[in-house]
């Protein structure tokens, strides 16, 4: 039985709580928040009585096997370090750390102590992403990806989040090097990191403020981002983050030398595009029909998943936590390779350096060591 603890009892902690409760052979033994009332309110709703406001006290008195850290990113490094040093495995919410340097240091510490870590890139483990990974493994693409694209949109209509952030320069999101982007884009970047090698030879980012955000009074906050990348092996990548695109576009396109795959998070679909030639006017009739068949298959697949009770919200988080816990119990590899976590952090560092100009952008990432 794995004993888990949650540090930071805000909104996202509820999702962790639900996800952990779905996994057999584990239980939540304690909660911690610097505001004790926040820990207690979650404890009251989830039947956890051990609530703390001091992490050191919690680690000493409960010694959890795993700690889920769901606090603002600025505190990730020090809290995770504390947990690792006391012998707990760590699930660290996204963004993993504020900088890549911190990410590398934490992972190194975990490896030194024979402990495991993972990042809260739960959308890498949704049902459609798992299906995509099966296709890639079966060589559906026909080789190494030639090009990958990740589109990630965010609805500014949710003023519960945006309002306080825009209203105060002191808000923790505004204090991040990448501001709004920093807290949101890691999901989209992590998808690209999976298919890029560590040696990124080219990266060009541009960003601007949308008229909508301007109207909401965002001042210097940027909310439209476009990034082009290329790795040493020649795979190119494009990332688009937008608050304006409607309907919401949350998808991943992976183009191989033979076939391509589109993963659409908005409707939980995986669309396979095969390289097939059709003669004459059949080009205009058959491929759309095949596309319709593909979408019908997705609807059928999702319906089957619904009947099988697999299509719940945050299925990605449950799957990721499950894989993480399994990797601890079986001493297997972590569900998200450390290489990908670090690469995601390094790409984000470079993007923020370029768009916020706090240092001269190199346009090229240093090779990741180790």
């Amino acid at each position: 039985m794995l004993r888990a603890a949650i540090v930071g009892c805000g909104k996202i902690a509820d999702q962790h709580m639900l996800a952990i409760q779905r996994i057999p052979n584990c239980k939540i033994v304690s909660l911690c928040d610097q505001e004790l009332l926040m820990a207690r309110q979650l404890g009251e709703r989830s039947g956890v009585s051990e609530c703390f406001s001091d992490l050191a006290v919690m680690l000493k008195s409960v010694s959890p096997d795993i700690v889920h850290i769901t606090t603002p990113p600025q505190s990730h490094f020090s809290l995770a370090q504390q947990c690792l040093e006391s012998g707990s495995h760590v699930y660290l919410e996204k963004p993993f750390t504020v900088t890549a340097r911190e990410a590398e240091a934490l992972i190194q510490l975990a490896e030194t102590r024979n402990l495991k870590m993972t990042a809260g890139h739960n959308l890498q483990f949704t049902l459609e992403m798992l299906q995509m990974r099966r296709l890639v493994k079966e060589e559906f693409l026909g080789g190494r990806p030639v090009h990958v694209e990740s589109h990630w949109t965010y609805d500014l209509g949710d003023t519960n989040y945006v309002g306080p952030m825009l209203g105060s320069r002191a808000h923790w999101v505004r204090q991040l090097p990448g501001q709004l982007f920093h807290n949101i884009i890691s999901h989209g970047i992590a998808k690209l990191s999976e298919f890029l090698d560590d040696d990124i030879t080219e990266i060009q980012a541009s960003a601007h403020q949308s008229p909508r955000l301007q109207a909401l009074g965002g001042e210097e906050v940027l909310d439209e981002l476009r990034v082009h990348m290329r790795d040493k092996a020649g795979t190119t990548a494009y990332f688009c983050f937008s608050t304006q695109i409607k309907p919401g576009l949350n998808h991943l396109l992976i183009c191989g030398p033979r076939n391509s795959i589109i993963v659409d998070h908005s409707c939980g679909a995986v669309v396979r595009n095969r390289d097939r030639g059709f003669k004459s006017y059949l080009t205009f009739f058959v491929p759309p029909l095949l596309g319709a068949w593909e979408h019908l298959g997705n609807a059928r697949h999702n319906f089957a998943n619904f009947l099988g009770r697999k299509l719940y919200q945050d299925s990605g988080m449950t799957e990721l936590i499950n894989c993480f816990y399994n990797s601890i119990q079986t001493e297997g590899p972590p569900p998200i390779p450390y290489r990908e976590i670090i690469l995601t952090a390094r790409i984000m560092d470079e993007i923020f350096a370029q768009i916020y100009g706090d240092r001269k952008a190199s346009g090229q990432l240093e090779r990741i060591q180790g």
């Binding site: 909104k11 509820d14 926040m38 309110q41 003023t159 825009l166 105060s168």
Partner: protein, 350 residues
Amino acid sequence: MNAEHQSLQAERILVTGSNGFIGTKVVETLLANGFMKLRCFVRPSSQIGRLEDVLRRYPAGGDVELVSGDLLSRDDCARAAKGVSIVYHLAAGSDKSFAGAFMNSALATRNLVEAFLEQGRPRRFVNVSSFAVYSNLHMKRGASLDENCPLEDAPQERYDAYGFGKLKQEEVVREYGKTSGLPYVILRPGTVFGPGKKNLSGRVGIDTFGFFMLMGGSNPLPLTYVDNCAEAIVLAGLEKGVEGETFNVVDDDLLTGRQFLSAYKKHVNRFFSVWIPYPLAYGLCVLWEKYATWSKGQLPPVFNRRRCAAEWKENRFPNVKIRQRLGWEPRVNINDAMTSFLSQFESGSK
């Protein structure tokens, strides 16, 4: 408002949530009754056009102090509460998550209460709560729901983050009343309606499935017109001898869900609706709740027995206590209130 109330006109008064639907009316009521030393607390991100409109209408509006801040910041609370003797606490968390609702209701209130006790000259703390804190699951249909009715003991099962936040907020206020002598009054308004709020209350029905379902229909709605509600809130801050009391705020001659929907359709727009009798609504909610449990939350338990009872069960809502103890009576009758509410939908209306 009597002479005793008027004698408090020189007191420094803080209104939180002052730019909200009810908050602006509270500010207006205070200004209209000669209260001049007002401090309005607004979030930095708030669009305060509605409040500014009110302030422009009164000569004393120019003297109203606007304090921008976040109730989750103790420093902001201290600034807001400095020298204040009466607090009208209307700020509410609209966050849909339980943690967010708790944070913006209970934690924010804790910060404000502590600042009030330290920085203010505590005379009265009016905590504006909600009918959402009640549980009528075990009450009979037709029974009266008043201030003595049980509070919700399983807000998680009801899947009501807002109600959870309000319950915890009340607990904070009562706790400080007990331990620190906070002179509080709790008001629980029913469904507040009026110009400025256009949506149909969930107590009438739901449109979750693409068409409108009138739920129950014969259930009286605990309506209170926004002007009436604001007056009740203001009185709760001024009336002597009611510390530690709780009052429900509902108007007289309440309409049923069916009557409200009928008037709405007649004056706003006609649309297709289906009537779901209460026993059927209850049965469907039971099924939904069971499926949510069986599927481990694949469908969240948004429809459940507790919610069904709270929103659509046929209960009566007396306002005897608030009339007797605060001397409040709804100045705008229900017909005029409905006319005013519906007039906002006429073409050319703001």
